[in-house]
Symmetry: C2
Subunit: 475 residues, 2 copies
Amino acid sequence: MVSQTSSGYFDAAAGLPLHPVAIEAWQAAVADGWADPARVHGAGRRSALLLDAAREAVAAELDLQPDELSFQPSGPLALQAAVLGTLAGNRRRDGAGGLVHSAVEHSTVLRAATWHAERGGQVHQVEVDETGQVAAAAFLAAATTTGTAAAVLQAANHEVGTRQPVAEVAAGLAGSGVGLVVDAGHELVFGEPPSAPVFTADARLWGGPAGVGLLAIRRGTRWRAPMPVDEAESGRALGAPNVPAIVAAAASLRASRQDRQQQAGRLSGLIDQLRRRVPELVPDAVVLGAAADRLPHLVTFCCLYVDGLSLLTELDRHDFAVSSGSSCTSDTLTPSHVLVAMGALTGGNVRVSLHRGVDQADIDRFLAVLPAAVARAREGVTINAPAARHRGGPGEPAGQLIDSRGRRCPLPVLDLARALPDVPVGAELTVLADDPAAASDLAAWCRMTGQQLISTGPGPAGSDGARAYRVRRLR
Amino acid sequence: MVSQTSSGYFDAAAGLPLHPVAIEAWQAAVADGWADPARVHGAGRRSALLLDAAREAVAAELDLQPDELSFQPSGPLALQAAVLGTLAGNRRRDGAGGLVHSAVEHSTVLRAATWHAERGGQVHQVEVDETGQVAAAAFLAAATTTGTAAAVLQAANHEVGTRQPVAEVAAGLAGSGVGLVVDAGHELVFGEPPSAPVFTADARLWGGPAGVGLLAIRRGTRWRAPMPVDEAESGRALGAPNVPAIVAAAASLRASRQDRQQQAGRLSGLIDQLRRRVPELVPDAVVLGAAADRLPHLVTFCCLYVDGLSLLTELDRHDFAVSSGSSCTSDTLTPSHVLVAMGALTGGNVRVSLHRGVDQADIDRFLAVLPAAVARAREGVTINAPAARHRGGPGEPAGQLIDSRGRRCPLPVLDLARALPDVPVGAELTVLADDPAAASDLAAWCRMTGQQLISTGPGPAGSDGARAYRVRRLR
């Protein structure tokens, strides 16, 4: 009945076990708040009282008026409604319908953008630097381009923790007529609500139950439901609200924000240790994301020459739960768009996200286990993967062609790393690869190791759609 | 911790307190199934196991393959996704995009239809008879009209209980290329799943938690997500599924279906008593809906000359929770579209929907309380409402004009009922009313009492947009 978190659960960003107060609140609310709060009878009124109290509590906690806050069926659905509803609400103004977002937004935003584009809408994606941060000036320049209806920016990146310049962007867009949506995410757990006209969050991030997303729309903001709705939640949702889950989400939000500064400081100290120690303990490991302007509880690092899935599996054996943006851990075999946008290596990628249940001993144990886990995962890759076939490049006697076709992450990178020492400094070789992750990973590896990616293009005739990556050895 | 249902909770169709097995299942699943089931670690795998088991259990219970069943964030959202997704999936075929639905579908279907029409789609509504039943032949004729992409029919009406000819419609549409969506609703609690290619239900109807809708799409059925989705639920939803709620919904579905025939028989007997006794005990009360081909646990009756809200309030004092399709109980002050489509009087309307916790003693107590409650509510209406001003109709010395402007349901009907005995049989009078509910209610009252509604039209100049209803006294 009490949620079980092993002390090695380091995947807080994917959701937490229920906070004990959330379980208690749910049990109480189920007894008294199961009825539809819109009903004109005792059971309905009791539900409505609980719902009102929860709305007031969350609104007070987040400096909102109660009528600015609606409860949505989940965090992703709240974010989708925020993005598409802000677009719909601002679309009429001089025919504008454009959507601007950073390249590292939650996949829900990218899906909404694709949806919008498929229906003839303009979409502009603002690129990020190697820490995953968008430049406020570039974002504002894009967002204030004529025709923009909505702009979407996360408070901080959910994969690498880098904070975005939300305050600057919000100030720049105030009065511009462009609707700004902020995916507040973890900032509501550790920091202050954004000053944006629209923001969203997922109760699962603070130990609330699944099935509750927050959608805040400040008074005077244009927003129109992107799908049919009814009278529930002031016309911002469909169907009776899930009162017990909402009550539980409200209780756990307040509980988790009570000591948020203390928790942020403590977790940030633990993350600092990982940022410093992992590259010391693990050969060929790099830490990604901003070092200072970041979420306190989250870090992503990347171990070369290993695939993320093997590393997750090794860590899982030791009861550590982490996540990975590597392509091998995705259903679609595509690497994380966040890491690709940062130009980071996506293979061997590990995200650690902590929560209040993690302490120093857990971090010590993780650091004790990690080096051997990486070594074993690397060994597995080397043993199971025969070297790629090398052969002279066509019409290029001095060059080499490395055939990595049919080989998945991290093998194309490993093939390149193995073959490059065999060519003289200043000479080049070509990797032929059909793994979609190879495009970003080979480029990232060259950048990281100081080699030169000369060009990327179609492979020679007969190479079955593979791409050819020409690399020059510089050192 | 145990859900509290007063024995006078007669609003099962608006949602039930959680079934005890649902609470137990939720508590167990929260401990072990809180993580995102798509994650590659122990906590994710434990969630995935629970989710798979729940899906298999529900699928087995409803004669589905597990991959035909997806869990949606609520019953209404499942129904909306079914309707708009079936339209989207069938739209390309020879450019067809029409939607056919009965006039008495759940408001979610009507909202989706309005949405579709606002975007240029064709919508055809099939009318019902006075019991609320659609004729299979009429429905099939509309649905097989060239250009129809999707047809929507409920298994049984949620307000009056009348069953619809789903089997006949499904057989008639098989192989037609028109997508059929069935809102299965209460039939999953008491009967068998419909033979339709797509059907939906809400777990709240069988004591499952809020936040779980079922969407069944049989193999080989065309359906396309009407909004952006991700990999969750085989591309039929967005965001990680709510595993604890799904496990609870599955457990309570199995538990409530275990003795479904026995419960259906028992509740049907109690409803039969209400159908027979209410008109005997309450003057000017009529029972609506089909007498035989109906849901077992639900009946709607109508008490003339009283408003639904007053009656609900009187019954609530005695701890009876019922619902009403009267306009005064709706946020928008419009009467139930179901009752209007049936040509029924909407004022003083009461829906009783029972559940396994109700027994003979509760029904006896209800029948003991009801006559006085109706009498008191009627008294309140009479005391608080001075008689409408009567005056001679313009240019019609023998006629009378009853000014019911500014008076809400049930007053226009009451005004007519009070005034009609004062005119001779064969003579006529005119009611001037601006209550939107008056249009259907005055017509229904004339039908019920054997009087003649001669015409309905705009009121005389200066009547501020009121409508004039000409009525002839026939008896």
